[in-house]
Every structure is written in C-alpha cells, then in structure tokens.
C-alpha cells in the first residue's frame, strides 16, 4: 500500500460518508471529516461550508505527522488521539487503522467523553470499509486512469 495510488470507488466512498454522517449525529458534532495521512480529504459531513476543509485536512495530517515524530523520539509508536481545546470549538483527531485520520469538531453541545466513545465505534466501521478498499486495490492491480492521453494532459496545462 506504500506504492501506487489510493483509489476510492463509489461504494466505499458512500460507506465513508454514511459512517461520518452517523458519527456526526451520534456525537452532536459540528463537522467530521476523514483524511488520509498525506493530507487529502476523503469524506466529510456537517457544516462543511463554514470551514476551509482542504486546509483543515492538510494541517490535521501535518499535526498527526508532527506528533508522530515526537512520539518516536520518546519511544512511542504514535499518539493515536489528539485533543485540542478551544474557547468555543474543540477538535478531536484520531488515527484509524494506521492510515486514515478522523477529525471531529464539536462545541459545548457535546463533550470529549461522548466524542471519544462515538469515534471508537465509527473507527471500527471505517476500518471495515478500508479493508474493502484494499481488497479492490489488490484485485485491480494497476488501477490508475488508463485512458489519459498526451492531449488530455496538454489541455489541462494550457
């Protein structure tokens, strides 16, 4: 999985979305999103229009990467849960199956204990979907987008 592309098909994408929607509702959060460790946004739910999700995704990944670096310096594998407390909004960041990052932003309507509980349940579900993603990747060895032509590429760069 270190090589090639990370390819997400409709079924698993929908699966992620459904899992996130459920987490959003169950945890009374404002927004939840799922990012890969490289900072790409995979799926999100909630008041996404109010947030710059692209930047959030990149910084959440940077955050996990940096604390992961800190962890290894003190002989830990990773800090798999991060919690940032703000004046109004709080952020719960956790690693799913070593590869994905689940971010929950919530305010006073919820609590860190509840979020943690719901995140644990959602993670199991997300892990299951991720296994399907991997199985498809194995079945479809070269993946990618075979039909790309020189002209396609040139037209994008005009």
């Amino acid at each position: 999985m270190a090589q090639g592309h990370f390819i997400l098909y409709d079924k698993e994408f929908q699966g992620f979305q459904i899992a996130l929607k459920k987490l959003l509702a169950d945890s009374y959060a404002k927004i939840v999103f799922l990012v890969d460790k490289n900072g790409s946004l995979l799926a999100s739910a909630g008041e996404t229009a109010d947030f710059d999700t692209t930047s959030l995704a990149s910084l959440a990944a940077g955050n996990i990467a940096a604390t992961g670096g800190l962890a290894s310096l003190i002989g830990e594998k990773e800090f798999s849960i991060l919690f940032h407390e703000g004046e109004r909004d709080n952020m719960h960041i956790s690693v799913v199956a070593d590869r994905l990052i689940l971010v929950v932003i919530f305010d006073r309507r919820s609590s860190v204990g509840l979020v943690r509980l719901r995140v644990r349940r959602a993670s199991t579900q997300l892990e299951r979907i991720l296994r399907d993603v991997d199985e498809k990747a194995l079945a479809d060895e070269d993946g990618g987008i075979e039909e790309l032509t020189e002209e396609d590429i040139e037209s994008l760069l005009k």
């Binding site: 270190a2 390819i7 900072g39």
Partner: protein, 196 residues
C-alpha cells in the same frame, strides 16, 4: 501516492518543493498564489518562524480543472531547508507524487545544493520510494544574481537523472509556472502508466 476518488471523480496529487534553505521554495509558492485565478487556488498556509523562515511547511492547494471528467487537485508543499529540520522534511515527503528540486544558483551555495539533493535521495529511500523513478524536475533559481554558477555546472552537479530543468528568478516569477507545469505533466504521465 495520488488519491483517486472515482465517486466524486477527483484526483489529488502531492508535489513537494525541495532544496536548501533560502533557495526560493516559499517564493515559488507565493508567486503561484498571487498569479493563480482565485477560483483555482485555496488559501496558502505558511507554518513559519517569526522571521519568515519555513518552520514546518508551506501549503498551497490548486485545482486545475478536469481531465477525462476528473477534477484535478494538486497540493503544493515546501520543506524547511535548514539541515537541522530533517525530521520535518521526512514527514512532508510522505506520499509525495512528484518533487521540484529548487537549487540556488549562487556559486557559494553549490555544496548546500548537492547536500540537499543527497538528503532528498536518502529520505525518499527511507520511505521505500525509488529516487531514480519518482517524477522530478529541476529549477535553477536566482539566475538574476551576479555570482551564479553556469547552467552546465549546475546540470553536472545536480541533474544526474537528466530530468527537465528550468532557469528561474522566482522573486519576479521567471520560470515558476514552467517548472510547475513540467512537474504536473510528469506526474500525470506517471499516473497514466499506472503508478510506481
């Protein structure tokens, strides 16, 4: 590692600007940010020290329109160049799809260029990425300065793979978009081949 979402029909790729401290990596991104149509770019984020040296990374997301019905997004990152930020550089390289190696043309910076190139290869190898196959383009920056090395010297010292190379004055934008286009093209061609 590019991320392809067949459901929302998006391709995400990660480009890292690598090179020694002060060679002009952040300046490249700033120029791209200023010149891009606001519809095509997101916010530029710089995690920098108070003296504007890159501390962790700069980040600039671009969305460049569609290719075969897929929206294309490119995430541009820079690394901090100073030798002692090696841990951060390794983190930022994770999942990279293509590298722009930005060299400082000043004669006095040749050792730093070579050292940074070596460092790039080592850090890629550590993640199991073949530094001889990853999409890479060279940018020789600061061509405006009087004590600049010759192109042939830069080529001989740094471009051992003989990849596309560009002269640049990032401060005024010369060569910046040529470099960006070249790495995007390289990545897409690589994508077409079905990845590494």
């Amino acid at each position: 590692m590019s991320f392809i979402n067949y459901s929302s029909r998006e391709i995400n790729c990660k480009i890292v600007y690598y090179g020694p401290g002060l060679c002009g990596k952040t300046t490249n991104l700033q120029y791209i940010y200023r010149r891009m149509n606001p519809d095509s770019r997101g916010k530029m984020i710089s995690l920098a020290t108070e003296t504007e040296r890159t501390l962790f990374f700069d980040f600039l997301p671009l969305s460049l329109g569609e290719i075969r019905g897929f929206k294309t997004r490119f995430h541009l990152y820079t690394v901090p160049g100073q030798v002692f930020y090696d841990a951060s550089r390794r983190l930022i390289l994770r999942g990279v799809d293509g590298v722009v190696f930005c060299a400082d043309s000043q004669l006095t910076r040749m050792d730093s260029n070579v050292e940074s190139m070596e460092n790039l290869r080592i850090n890629l190898r550590e993640q199991g990425v073949d530094g001889d196959r990853l999409p890479l383009v060279m940018q020789y920056n600061k061509r405006d300065l009087p004590h600049a090395a010759s192109l042939s010297d830069l080529h001989a010292l740094l471009n051992y793979r003989n990849v596309p190379e560009f002269e640049a004055v990032a401060k005024s934008g010369v060569g910046v978009f040529e470099t960006l286009k070249a790495i995007i093209k390289y990545i897409l061609v690589d994508l077409k081949k079905g990845g590494r």
